[in-house]
Amino acid sequence: MAELAQNRMTAALKEAMGNAHEHAYDRPTELPFLPHRWWIAGHLDPRNNEMMILILDLGIGIPNHLKPSLYEQVCAIFDWSATPSDGAMIRAATELYRTSTGQEGRGKGFRDMKRFIDVCDDGELRVLSNRGSYTYRKNELESFADHDTSIGGTLIEWRVRHAAVAEISDD
């Protein structure tokens, strides 16, 4: 795998692991069993140059990571009068680095997660958190949605296709 893509993958994983460790369980969670745990899994398909990586936690969820003061600012920035849905909140969280809200570089981790997708031949980042979902495809194509039930935590999934994926299996 090209070194740049490999570096970006590692950076993206470090940020996602850091979030799962630092923010996911800082308050009581929806599903109070297995506290403070998080999981990582990967699947490599060298024949099709495809790779999938998953990181899961059962924490408070990204919509709840936003502090109340920040939440209000986010509502103002995106011009929301009603309470935003979880999907909209996840999307906002991924864009926070563009704002001057100054929350210790919050949102930059998501930018790392997107940058990995941008250097692969093709790929998709999906973030499911509580009732919301957010999808990022290469070159800034993004969408978000809301669902009836909560997954009770956060699942981050990268699916990428990259010509050099096969080399990983040799490393």
């Binding site: 970006r8 950076a11 470090k14 940020e15 460790h21 630092e22 680095y97 100054g102 570089g105 930059k108």
Partner: protein
Amino acid sequence: MTEKRVSLARDFSMDPGPRYKRQGPYSGELFREQIVKWLKAAQHLHIDLDGTTGIGSSFLDEAFGGLVRDEGMSPDDVRRRITIKSERDETYLLDIEESLQQAASQRV
């Protein structure tokens, strides 16, 4: 003027870690403390970021933005005393510059 040349990969870690020391080894916080020690011994520091497995934004933010947030330096102090090189991934340089500016705006 005394100068010091250091490499993140060689002189700190090939595998830079999370933001804070409490989160794990080779954190941005620990690297910031190392930078402060180097800056006491040399007037100018050259830091080479190439050669690692990959650096997360929060590591860079804590290491360099933290110089402004927690060590009392201004963004200009940092720019004047530290030259940073990153050829493989130039986004690191943009991220660091952004962190310096954000840290300065938070301090006011």
